[in-house]
Amino acid sequence: MTAPKLELVDLYKEYGDGSVAAVDGVDLVVEAGETVALLGPSGCGKSSTLNMIVGLEQPTSGDIRIDGKSVVGVPPGRRNVGLVFQDYAVFTHMSVRANLGFGLSVRGGDRQAAARRVEEVAELLGLTSILDEKATRLGGSQLQRVAIGRTLVVRPAVLLLDEPLSNLEAESRQAMRRELRRLQAEIGLTIIYVTHDQIEALSLASKIAVMSSGKIVQFDSTERVYDRPNHVFVAGFMGSPPMNLVRGELAEARFARKGFSLTLPAALAASAQGEGREVTLGIRPEQLRLVQDGAGTLSGRVALVQPRGAEAVVSIETGGVTLQALVAAANRPDEGASVGLAFDAAALTLFSGETGRSLHGKNGLAA
């Protein structure tokens, strides 16, 4: 069995006096050919993790293995990783060709082979026609392709991209997203995206590691991170708008808080057995359906309608709780109208009020 491409083992990083750990015991295994997004809000430790993988920062403790070998203490240039910076960091005083050839020229070796490799990569990224342009003359998406090409030329074991789409305009974003997907499929690279943008993570990666306060909260396939968040943090972070979360108390199968109550399916309620009475109930906005007042499980009043093209986000007040629902723009109600809310009981998720962890998979409930 071959070793995973990249392994982070109990990685730990603190700055300054050590009172705050930027990266607090991260374990992560990325297999060859996987595309993983490291997703989290700013300050969650994802950039420090990235810098440690690349070698620009040294971990306080823990291990980083690439192809099974520890690279702690190895200088960045010898780790066989590629990094595409958020601002591209293309060498503007050089031509595109010199930029692409930079890594190979630093490493020395056969010049003709290097020149051929540069042509190959230029071909792959559609840069052939601008090979001899100065990098100062290029636009955003071209700069990014140069930055990607520069890392691909040296055939890195792992390619890391820092916020790859954030500096691009909407149109170029679509194109670059397709481009990155195509590259991944064509050359089977192992890619790690570091991003704070969940859309970027959802659209680019096959697996997502959600980070918060220096820890990985959930590492799972993209679909599962979205559909079955294992923590309140992930639930509240993913989705636009994110999952509706309501704190309350559970007594038997009855979920209640001041002015609001709901009877849960028995299986779901059973999952909270022995977890204390405090729970958080979650449901995705797109799982809520608007029905005639009185016809749904809940009823409430439309407080706000935010149209956004084909869909609209509708905020509904019901018993002191505001829930957001995502509906087709054509079906959107008027503000102030009374509506009913219907949903599949299976769409409900329960989180422990104490730890924030999902209660799925507990007490025999299917995960």
Binding site: G77, G82, L83, F85, A89, V154
Partner: protein
């Protein structure tokens, strides 16, 4: 920015400013080619009727001026020209190299803590006259007085705050990521600074070098008090063209001043493209 045609009024103002700025230069160039009779004629002679190069010849051949019946100059200016070239270029090179290393250290690694840049600048907070006398005494005791090594040491110390601060502002402007990118591609830390950042701040480096060179080239006070007979620079020599019989030799003085301007003007023209950007002192962020 689109170029707007100048209004007549603005054109006049600009012309006025140019005339005022360039008048001293015009006057000194004219005086340099005036024969002794025209030097302090009244009313003033603006453009000499019989231009001559005798003032320039006198710089290197002290007896030349005698053909106009004016008492000769005691010493040729050759030594001061060579002395200025040697002291200024050496001090400028050292100041810019050390300044560049300090700038990288401060900008990239906060070397010495946050107060370092200000501490470096504190060396320029006294008037030079205040520290000139102590330096004369100290340098006498350690045998650095009247030597080029001593003068160069002072020049480097005096200009280092400027070179460090100017270069720091240019290094600050270059994103750190670009060096990190070079390191990920296999360069060492030092080589990343030298092969990536250095070419990018080239304009600023030229501007700083010229600025420091001008400071050293025109420095008078220290060159005067730290020299006796072994060393001399152009500014000191300029002050010595006073004779007992003919008073101040304005023409010869002017000739040396014109000569001293030549390298600066040439350097300025050669790097003027860089200068326009460099002289903004990195004040404009992207």
């Amino acid at each position: 920015m689109p170029v707007r045609p100048l209004s007549w009024f603005l054109l006049l103002v600009l012309l006025g400013a140019i005339v005022i700025t360039l008048f001293p230069t015009f006057w000194i160039v004219m005086t340099a080619i005036k024969p002794p009779t025209d030097w302090n004629a009244a009313p003033a002679i603006w453009i000499p009727s019989k231009p001559t190069l005798v003032n320039f010849r006198t710089l290197f051949d002290p007896e030349a001026i005698r053909e106009y019946g004016v008492g000769g100059v005691s010493q040729a200016a050759t030594m001061s020209v060579l002395g200025s070239i040697f002291a200024s270029t050496t001090a400028t090179a050292l100041s810019v190299i050390i300044g560049l290393l300090s700038a990288i250290g401060i900008s990239r690694y906060s070397s010495g803590g946050r107060a370092t840049p200000l501490l470096i600048l504190s060396g320029r907070m006294f008037p030079p006259a205040a520290i000139a006398v102590p330096f004369v005494i100290i340098f006498s005791n350690i045998a650095l007085i009247d030597t080029y090594s001593g003068l160069i040491a002072i020049y480097v110390a005096a200009t280092l705050p400027f070179s460090t601060w100017m270069l720091k502002s240019f290094v600050d402007e270059i994103p750190r990521e670009i060096e990190e990118a070079a390191m990920v591609d296999g360069k060492s830390r030092l080589m990343a600074h030298l092969t990536v950042t250095l070419p990018l701040i080239r304009g600023g480096l030229f501007a700083t070098t010229l600025f420091i060179f001008i400071l050293n080239w025109s420095e008078f006070l220290f060159a005067l008090v730290l020299s006796y007979t072994n060393i001399e620079t152009i500014p000191v020599r300029l002050a010595k063209y006073v004779t007992a019989t003919a008073g101040t030799l304005y023409g010869v003085q002017a000739a040396l001043a014109v000569l001293a301007m030549v390298p600066l003007v040439i350097a300025g023209f050669l790097i003027q493209n860089h200068l326009a950007r460099g002289m903004t002192f990195g004040a404009v962020k992207r």
